[in-house]
């Protein structure tokens, strides 16, 4: 009886730790996305000359950075999904058993 409730308590603690770990990773990645995007938007709003600098014929800083924001959103998603599939899901399955 005691041993069983012990395991249950431990499982609940582990579940909470796992949930907390995911929350931190989710918040970290969201923070990264927010920083990337709003840095770009702040430059767009407050420093147009900087973004308008020409780096090469046909390439200005904003034309380089804009697509990079798009690509980085996808890469951040990819990082999260890889982590979730490889680390989070197996750990969750172990807990569920």
């Amino acid at each position: 009886m005691d041993a069983r409730s012990d395991t249950a308590t431990r499982a609940r603690g582990e579940a909470r730790a796992l949930a907390r770990q995911r929350l931190w990773i989710a918040l970290g990645l969201s923070g990264a996305m927010i920083v990337i995007y709003f840095t770009f938007m702040a430059l767009f709003a407050f420093d147009k000359p900087l973004l308008g600098q020409l780096l090469a014929p046909g390439l200005s800083l904003c034309i380089l950075l804009g697509p990079l924001v798009i690509v980085s959103s996808f890469l951040l998603c990819l990082v999260y999904v890889l982590w979730a599939n490889r680390v989070f899901d197996p750990a969750l399955r172990d807990l569920d058993r």
């Binding site: 949930a19 969201s30 938007m41 709003a45 973004l51 308008g52 046909g58 798009i70 998603c77 999260y80």
Partner: protein, 521 residues
Amino acid sequence: MGSNAISIGFFFAFMALTLLITYWAARRTRTTEHFFAAGGEVTPWQNGWALAGDFLSAGALLGIAGIVTSNGFDGMIYSIGWLVGWPIILFLIVEPLRNVGRFTFADVVAYRLRQRPVRVAAAVGTLAVILFYLIAQMVATGSLIKLLFGLSYAWSVVLVGSVMLVYVLFGGMLATTWVQVVKAALLMAGGVLLAFLVLTHFDMNPLKLFAAASQKYGAKVLQPGSRVVSGQWDAVSLGLGLMFGTAAMPHVLMRAYTVRDAKAARLSILYATGLIGFFHLMVFIIGFGAMVLVGPEAVTKAGGGGNMAAPLLALAVGGNAFFGFICAVAFATMLAVVAGLTLSGVATLCHDVWTNVVRNGTASEAEQLKVARIATVLISVLAVVLGVAFEGQNVAFMAGLAFSVACAANFPSLVLAITWRRFTTSAAVASILVGTLSSLLLIVLSPTIQVDVLGKTLAQVENAWWFVSLRNPAIICMPLSFWVAIVVSLLTTETNADATFAALQERILFGRAQPVPVPRD
């Protein structure tokens, strides 16, 4: 016009295919689970395409391409803003949503709280978003079809309304999903081909295309300007609204329920992000291609406020058949987006308002399906009537308003319901209502309504005490809504909500297999 016949041909092929799909789906739609969530049987890959189909409106292809053609780089601000919300959905929202909810995001907000007040408030927020977005889409659709096919405005709106009614009414989520998938595939194919044909003129090098554009129209087309987004804080506010509004769009969130589990929902968001991002990169090339190969003057002359950039480019690089194809794709796009919007409005009316508020969670399957079908007819009729009523009105602001309400009304309550133990029923209701009403109020007092719609001059209104110079209210409304939610939560206590927080967290992790708490209220 020969091209008109070709586009009508393509269009009928699309209609025939999607109506066939609807017929097939109708025979499989027997329960609310099927009607609202396609029985959870959609694969992540299909759902990713369907999400892209739901989200990429005609504005994404025709609108942004047109803005790029006439303004250069600035069009990209919209492309980027429409994408950066997706990672937020993935990281913070989709898994709790999938594991806790059943059909709508109100399921999640109301989980620990008192069902009736929360669901009524969430329905107000959701229906406001859906209605504004639907009107914006309907009016754009009517005028575009008039332009592309020569059909009269009112008939265009009626046609789109009836076809979307057929999809949703008979085929529910299953048919809507497949319509989205087919449409997204066509849109993607059209976009890739168009961008490819443009690049063949420039040695497959986008930089040569941009260089040619700046040679012809000056380096300013490669630089950020202020014609598309005027004020500085307005730009930041627009960004806020696009990012967090996307993360709380009801028709997008609803797709979390069409797949098997949280893992599948997560994957579908990843695929959708990739598809939408890739598409937006191509639209950028298409816009610059139209600038160089067609010319902004010709695009302006064709009418439709710049929307003809992509079709005219298709005509220039691919001839009549390709022009017809792109027009048909645009039509398919509008049809699919309004179908998705209608379905999520129906889910709110039937599942939140009828089943959980009016009937207190006790309606039978048959009754719910009946109510869902009545709601479908209601929303479709409303969309058509409003679409016709707003003919010729400047409703561009309504799409922005939809995003603003989503970000100020839905997003704060959703995030706080998932993460904050102290969050209470009164706080959820207050935050949703404040978010909705403040967005509405600020738009009405802004130049968007005062100058663009009511036709006053800026000088007439800018000194009035009530005047708000921001065109995008998100930067005020979203923090306000968060603030109201937090203050009201701290002022009220809800023992029940407090006690069920652990159960909610468990459900967020493990999903619906866990015992469901007894419905309260």
